[in-house]
Symmetry: C2
């Protein structure tokens, strides 16, 4: 069994980006610039955004953090989005989700200029990804592709089961893994709450991408010997022995599944670190204007 070290790969990718940025700057080009809008003071969101700002520093990007209180109106937020759309110095930007309930997230996502939508959530980017056209691919599925690539994991003709059909992980992951490409060319099955026999589906899989958000859902009896296991789950499970009071728990029962696998991602330190890394990659692409002019 080989552990997929997402943390190490993420560091490596960020160093590669930093080298490219240094070259851009040496050639007289401007540093890629990522802006992030953070609304309110949600603990998780604060951490994510802080990590994104930190990653920008490592990559040599310019970053701007724009904060609003939770009582900002949708109109005010949309006005800021418009401003960032029109700001030539900003190559890409994100609006950290979730947003307060009185704001329609979909309105905000669709207001972002797709050419600056480095989160890859705008319908144009989702559509282009599905058609197989160049676009900003959303962070988590893109990070998983990168891990498969870096570990030279064969995907062509493999049977892949994706657990979960969310818009930001399950569905795009399935679309990407079925495409004529590497990684890709998998026979993909998407399972969800209405799947009749998830255990049997998993047992037939060469690759399992678990993105249900159900702690330790995938157990050893569900896994074929030699399978590749990608664990996207990150549920905070209460743990009184920890200072934080919780433990990040994946969708896979790691201790019993790991010995059966050929490759497995740990939680934390597997898919998680790759997510921010993918955002950095998209920001670099936005800065280089290679996807959209």
């Amino acid at each position: 069994m080989q552990l997929i070290d997402g943390k190490a790969i993420a560091e490596q990718v960020k160093q590669e980006i930093a080298a490219q940025v240094a070259e851009m700057v040496a050639n007289g080009q401007k540093r890629p610039h990522l802006a992030a809008i953070l609304v309110g003071h949600d603990g998780g969101s604060e951490t994510y955004v802080a990590n994104k700002v930190k990653a920008c520093e490592v990559c040599g990007f310019t970053s701007t953090l724009i904060r609003f209180e939770a009582d900002i109106t949708e109109e005010e937020l949309l006005a800021k989005v418009k401003e960032l759309n029109e700001d030539d110095d900003v190559d890409g930007f994100i609006v950290q989700l979730p947003l307060p309930k009185h704001i329609n997230e979909q309105h905000v996502i669709e207001a972002i200029d797709y050419r600056k939508d480095v989160d890859g959530f705008h319908p144009i980017n989702v559509g282009r990804m599905n058609i197989g056209l160049p676009c900003f691919v959303s962070a988590t599925p893109n990070g998983i592709l990168e891990l498969l690539k870096r570990y030279n994991i064969e995907t062509k003709g493999k049977k892949c089961v994706v657990l979960g059909r969310s818009n930001i992980v399950g569905k795009p992951m399935a679309a990407l893994l079925m495409q004529k490409a590497y990684p890709g060319d998998c026979t993909v099955t998407v399972c969800h709450s209405h799947t009749a026999n998830i255990k049997e589906e998993c047992q037939a899989a060469d690759i399992i991408v678990a993105a249900l958000g159900q702690p330790e859902f995938v157990t050893a009896d569900m896994v074929k010997p030699g399978a590749v296991i990608i664990d996207v789950g990150t549920t905070r499970v209460p743990d009184s022995t920890r200072k934080s009071g919780f433990k990040l728990t994946g969708d896979v029962k790691f201790d019993e599944v790991a010995p059966k696998c050929s490759f497995i991602t740990p939680v934390p330190g597997g898919v998680g670190p790759m997510t921010i890394c993918s955002l950095m990659k998209n920001t670099l692409l936005a800065g280089e204007k290679v996807i959209y002019k």
Copy 2:
């Protein structure tokens, strides 16, 4: 075994649309207006477009057919697209594919205002469909959903195998059948040229959607008793006994598969007639401005 009569359902749907149009007109609203651009004189395209114009008449739509010779430049075609985008009387329009090789089809598709893109090929409509937002769904998958609905075929929790991963049938079909909806909530597997064991995948399926374009690919030994078979294939196979010189042949070996099924679509007369019908449905929605303002 029950034959799914796409021809009859298509007639029924068109009559329903005609009734709605009559009501719109009685209320002083304008008739929905579909425009079609046809480039060159490809036999298949001529037939499709003629059938679309005929279907418009049945539905009570206004239709406009715009013809260009095959040597039209991409710029000239894009100029016409722009003109139709800006023509307030035109609710929706299509550019009949395929286009001559010197024209980039993707450029043309993306030039169409997505609010008039009744073919549902624009990335915004593809993306919205994948996210589960209101949009123009492309014709063939939408027609199949309609058939499943009209025959009250249960889909929730069913194992569905989609054969083929094309952008206009396989991929959207898979996305729609996995969504939290009816028809939908299936456990979907997408198979293609790199799938290791298509026979076994098909044998496990409650519903098979065959869209490979390989005549009589699905044989009786691949089908579970009681399965639902949707045949999207329409390959012209030479047949000297026919005046046309060819026979439209599906992806399913109908004679041997039909007796094993609960439901099956014939070729011709199954999915085919529903495709134009879906286009009419989208044109009605465009005329009513219910999806986009």
